[in-house]
């Protein structure tokens, strides 16, 4: 059974903020079934979606790939991540939309250089900073500083998350509307880093047959979009340990959000944007 370390201590300034109580919400290891899949080791690359076929993730409702949660190195030295998550009944769309914007703004008492407590509370073991690149909205990207090893000591890496238009990568306006009519939302993005490397990301959220919504996510490490196609970025560092860390990190953070978001939303949604 995975034993998680204690989160890093907050600064005195952070501790004083009312927000700091959400940092103390205990983080749990992955649920036992996902943990079982992670323990089984890397998936067979033959069961991965190749980057050039990323739109294969757009399947009819209730249809899944053989592997929806796992990781592997691909034969060309790039990496592959598959994540499957279900929505939690404690979280509404309004809450999620509010938090995903709100955490990009630092509160008034945050000290430059100490990160963003609004982001830290989401994943205390790894998260450090999060903000809009242009300071006002996501149009120029989102800047993130985090580790991925559950606080094991690796150097935090700064990244920028760039949203791109799926219409430029194989889906027509009509197809997008047809998927939207089925309750699908589609997100395509890529990440650049302070070190060489690129990740290409594709998420499909859709109604889950068992109720609520489900998100099928994929990440191709070592690929980035360019002029309507995907190009290989050979400089991207990746190995199995790194991929496994991403799967664990993302599994944990997804499951942690419902533990605190409903209360956070109730407390902060009507407060000024820079409230502590």
């Amino acid at each position: 059974m995975m034993v998680l370390p204690k989160p890093p201590k907050l600064s005195p300034e952070e501790k004083k903020m009312p927000l700091s109580k959400y940092y103390d919400v205990p983080v749990s290891p992955p649920d036992p079934l996902r943990q079982q899949l992670i323990d089984a080791g890397p998936i067979n690359p033959a069961d991965a979606i190749r980057p050039e076929n990323f739109l294969d993730l757009l399947m009819p409702p209730g249809v899944y790939n053989k592997v929806e949660h796992g990781y592997c190195m691909m034969p060309d030295g790039s990496g592959y991540i598959a994540l499957y998550q279900r929505s939690d009944p404690r979280i509404s769309d309004e809450m999620m939309g509010w938090y995903m914007r709100w955490m990009n703004f630092h509160s008034k008492s945050m000290v430059p250089g100490q990160g963003n407590l609004r982001y830290k509370i989401w994943m205390p073991l790894d998260h450090i900073d999060h903000s809009y690149v242009n300071g006002k909205d996501r149009s120029d990207g989102i800047s993130t500083l985090e580790t991925l090893d559950l606080g094991a000591g690796s150097k935090p890496i700064a990244s920028i998350h760039h949203r791109i238009d799926v219409k430029d990568y194989g889906l027509s306006e009509e197809q997008i509307k047809a998927y939207a009519a089925m309750g699908y939302s589609i997100r395509i993005a890529w990440e650049s880093f302070e070190i060489p490397g690129s990740h290409f990301c594709f998420d499909v959220t859709r109604p889950c047959p068992l109720g609520g919504m489900e998100t099928l996510s994929r990440e191709w490490i070592g690929w980035r979009p360019a002029d309507g196609s995907l190009v290989r970025d050979e400089e991207t560092p990746v190995d199995e340990e790194y991929l496994r860390n991403i799967v664990i990190h993302n599994t944990i953070e997804h499951a942690h959000l419902p533990k605190f978001l409903p209360k956070l939303y109730e407390e902060y949604k009507d407060q000024p944007l820079d409230a502590d």
């Binding site: 649920d31 079982q36 790939n65 592997v67 499957y84 279900r86 939690d88 009944p89 047959p209 533990k259």
Partner: protein, 278 residues
């Protein structure tokens, strides 16, 4: 699997208000995580709880076995089944426990020989009948008629679930305290099953708070074992192979997931009605 093809109800059943829970709440396949686990085939028997250690299933909140979902044959020809169901925070445990008692009483308009619609709604593809052996309470066991293949055409088996006391097998006050201190409620009895053919199953489940919110059910079956006089006895006549064990896993997990889809609504409609309400 034909779990989504509903066997037709009898006209008397269709006329019951209860029938909407049969027709309006579609059965679903296992989720992709569960299917991915099953696709790997039988688990390593070394990661199973051995029959003689069956009480090891009872763990403090937050602790798990390395394998919480899977199946395998043991070297002696007996079998092992592990199932795990997350019960989300929007499902009230009280309503689940109410259903597990309520389904033993047949609706007043039930016709002898037609089974029990209260049980059929739980797993329309496989379930047929369910009642207390003595028609009053579970002290003499619970009678069940069901198949396990999700409506693929295999015959339905009659089963009787008998109670046994876990204190006879070493469940101590100290162990109970350890579990309750962690937030678990400890059930001191569990069930074992006999069938209309030779064979026995030892079962044990733990329902407890889930660290991620809501509750979780951890279930185990040791196929080919039964309790007797404070000891476990092997019954080598018990039919068991990997195909059978896999069916038990799928059947069990699909039906528990399905119960979560209707039990809130069912409770709200029926819990204040007479015990034999249609």
């Amino acid at each position: 699997m034909s779990y989504s093809t509903l066997p037709e109800l009898f006209p008397e059943e269709k006329a019951m208000p209860l029938s909407k829970y049969y027709y309006n709440y579609p059965m679903n396949d296992l989720g992709p995580i569960e299917k991915q686990i099953l696709a790997a085939g039988p688990m390593n028997p070394e990661k199973a709880i051995k029959p003689e250690d069956f009480l090891d299933l009872y763990k403090p909140c937050g602790e798990y076995d390395e394998v919480e979902m899977g199946y395998c044959m043991f070297e002696d020809g007996s079998g092992y089944v592990a199932t795990y169901t997350r019960i989300p925070p929007n499902v009230d445990l009280k309503k689940m426990y109410w259903y597990l008692g309520w389904l033993n009483t047949r609706p007043q308009s039930s016709v002898l020989g037609h089974g029990n619609l209260r049980y059929k709604i739980w797993n329309p593809a496989d379930h047929w009948d369910h009642h207390y052996v003595n028609w009053t309470d579970g002290s003499n066991g619970i009678f069940t008629t069901e198949s396990l293949d999700l409506g693929e055409g295999e015959r339905k088996y009659d089963t009787i679930r008998h109670n046994y006391n876990l204190r006879d097998f070493g469940l101590s006050d100290e162990r109970i305290k350890e579990l309750t201190d962690s937030g678990c409620k400890v059930k001191e009895t569990a069930g074992w099953e006999t069938f209309d053919i030779p064979g026995v199953h030892l079962t044990l489940a733990q329902i407890r708070p889930c660290p991620l919110g809501g509750y979780e059910r951890r279930g185990r079956e040791w196929i080919g074992w039964r309790p007797l006089g404070g000891e476990l006895i092997r019954d080598p006549r018990t039919h068991c192979d990997n195909d059978y064990l896999k069916k038990v896993v799928i059947h069990t997990m699909i039906e528990w997931n399905h119960m979560l889809t209707f039990v809130n609504d069912l409770y709200d409609e029926y819990h204040d009605q007479p015990i034999d309400a249609d």
